[in-house]
């Protein structure tokens, strides 16, 4: 008995199903496209020389396509950013979730959300005009365009993600945990750091991983403040070049189908793999919460 209502029900169900499946399909399609365009670079250079090669001179004849300096550049700025934004972010989340009075909580949450809304190119621009000259003068460096400047700007960009997700994880801890701890004689701080934070730990790890995922994929801000020197960095206070900045800066010039073009897509595959692994870890950490 096919009434109109049954048909509508069926259609709505299928439409919602499609919308959910579309995002998975899109990711798969993007991945397939990356592989299709990037894989042919391995005719010009083998995988080991590509990933571990130390010289990136893509327009030379023959092109030198070693992306180790770029991978290390990305990892360095991410590591530097995490040194700043992980302690700050988690501490802010703990403060907002557990200690702040309701009014201050509202103000802080809105502040963090506004920080998330600032476009990354604005961070890059501000960093370039204020942080870079300051870093050069205060730290007596040859130039202020370093991974250090990049890390600071990236820390500001990752913080809202970390604070929001960690704060969600902390407020999701059942109230009875806190009650039980306080009832057993714990001080507020003991209840927070021994019970609540531990209970929310997988959520906090997920927050940190998501923040790091954001940082590794950041392009505009790093391109403007890290100096873009494709050299293996020996310290954070040196200019370096990230995978993302390389793609952004060089994609415009390559002729479609050239080795350089394929190499840039291969860099995209590497980036995709790194963020995929980071998100997998974050996912795994979130699901552990419901054990």
């Amino acid at each position: 008995m096919l009434t109109f209502k049954v048909l509508k029900e069926f259609l709505v169900e299928k439409v919602i199903y499609l919308s959910g499946v579309i995002s998975v399909i899109l990711v798969v399609l993007i991945f397939v496209f990356l592989i299709k365009e990037g894989f042919s670079v391995f005719e010009a250079v083998n995988l080991k020389d590509f990933l571990l090669g130390r010289r990136w001179y893509p327009i030379s004849d023959p092109p030198q396509l070693g992306i180790l300096p770029l991978i290390l550049g990305s990892l360095c700025v991410t590591f530097g950013a995490s040194l700043i934004c992980v302690p700050l972010g988690v501490a802010s989340a703990v403060y907002i979730a557990e200690v702040a009075s309701p009014r201050i909580r509202e103000i802080l949450k809105s502040g963090v959300e506004i920080l998330a809304a600032i476009p990354s190119v604005v961070f890059g621009f501000i960093g370039m005009t204020t942080l870079v000259p300051w870093a050069k003068n205060a730290l007596d460096l040859p130039t202020g365009l370093t991974g250090f400047s990049g890390s600071i700007m990236l820390a500001f960009m990752a913080m809202p993600t970390i604070v929001s997700v960690a704060e969600d994880a902390l407020t999701a801890v059942p109230y009875k945990y806190k009650e039980a701890a306080l009832a057993l004689g714990a001080t507020r701080w003991q209840a927070i750091h021994r019970v609540i934070v531990r209970a929310a730990s997988s959520g906090i790890v997920a927050a940190v991983m998501l923040g790091m995922g954001r940082v590794i994929g950041e392009t505009m801000a790093v391109m403007m403040v890290t100096g873009n020197a494709a050299r293996i960095p020996q310290s954070l206070l040196q200019p370096m070049r990230t995978l993302t900045a390389t793609i952004a800066a060089e994609m415009g010039e390559t002729v479609q189908g050239s080795d350089h073009y394929h190499a840039l897509f291969a860099i995209g595959i590497v980036l995709f793999a790194i963020t995929f692994v980071i998100n997998l870890i974050a996912d795994f950490a979130i699901h552990r919460r419901f054990k």
């Binding site: 004849d61 050069k136 403007m224 050299r231 415009g252 010039e253 002729v255 050239s258």
Partner: protein, 296 residues
């Protein structure tokens, strides 16, 4: 939501997809009809010059529409080969690799010399140095010389500023200073050289950093940076990158600025290039601080 609204939304979404299927500004071969919009892409060094030409041209031909964008000489050539621009403006000649790719794609590039440019090598005004030979420049930019005291300056590390690989300025400097004219030589910029996104970024960093040395087209010269006099070797005279020295061919690092079209230009594109090469067009070159083509 009512079913009628849903159907209307779906139809309008599908309808909005159709206009995006047009390609804008492509030139089709055939009868030379003046189609009124042309796209110029390429050199960041030339983008202001290109814009000045466009303004001059559109004053005389108000119905024409010419758009100029930068992105680097490499980007312009790539666009010409892919068919997404009508004119590529470049600050270097097409490489043999690019010419081969053009032949593969059925593109026949035609070259026009539209102006001359000098590459000024600049340092911060606080740097005591005021002259260098081409060999010293090559050694500095390949990383052989790392401290200013090796060339007569203070005991400070040299910070190298270069441009990104898609910049014609980068390629020209590499070929004519680092490799001294022979494109087959292996010299590269030192891997610690900072690849700046534009000539303006080079100028800004030099203005605030006494250790830095960089290069850009003379059109970007500014009192906050100091241009060095360059000599071919220790025994030759040193010349500053002035208009006269470039026009006379005395300044070593000078280069032609070019425009490339796919095949002989027709219609509006031909009209535009004729304007650029005319007396008026060359006067505009002078106004934008470049050097007019020496008249034969």
């Amino acid at each position: 939501m009512k079913t009628k609204t849903l159907i209307f939304l779906c139809l309008s979404l599908t309808a909005s997809l159709f206009p995006s299927c047009e390609k804008a500004g492509t030139q089709t071969p055939g009868p030379a009809s003046l189609h009124h919009s042309i796209q110029i892409k390429g050199s960041d060094t030339m983008v202001n010059l290109g814009q000045a030409w466009v303004e001059g041209y559109m004053q005389e031909h108000p119905q024409a529409f010419v758009a100029v964008t930068g992105g680097g000489s490499g980007t312009g050539i790539a666009a010409l080969l892919s068919g997404t621009c009508d004119i590529a403006e470049t600050s270097r000649t097409m490489k043999s690799k690019e010419l081969k790719q053009a032949a593969e794609k059925g593109v026949k590039p035609v070259e026009f010399v539209v102006a001359m440019d000098g590459l000024a090598v600049v340092v911060n005004p606080k740097n005591p140095l005021d002259r260098l030979t081409v060999n010293e420049l090559a050694d500095i930019f390949t990383g052989k010389i790392r401290n200013w005291k090796e060339v007569g300056g203070h005991d400070l590390p040299i910070v190298l500023l270069s441009r990104e690989v898609n910049s014609g300025t980068h390629v020209y400097f590499k070929e004519h200073v680092l490799r001294q004219g022979d494109e087959k030589r292996p010299e590269e910029f030192d891997e610690g050289a900072l690849l700046m996104p534009s000539s303006q970024a080079v100028a800004d960093e030099i203005a605030q950093n006494p250790n830095a040395i960089g290069y850009y087209g003379v059109g970007y010269s500014n009192p906050t940076q100091k241009a060095l006099a360059v000599a071919q070797d220790k025994n030759s005279p040193y010349y500053l990158p002035t208009l006269e020295n470039i026009m006379d061919g005395k300044y070593y690092i000078s280069r032609p600025l070019l425009m490339y079209t796919n095949g002989q230009p027709q219609g509006t594109v031909k009209d535009f290039i004729d304007f650029v090469l005319s007396k008026e067009g060359q006067e505009i070159v002078r106004q934008v601080d470049f050097v007019p083509v020496p008249q034969r």
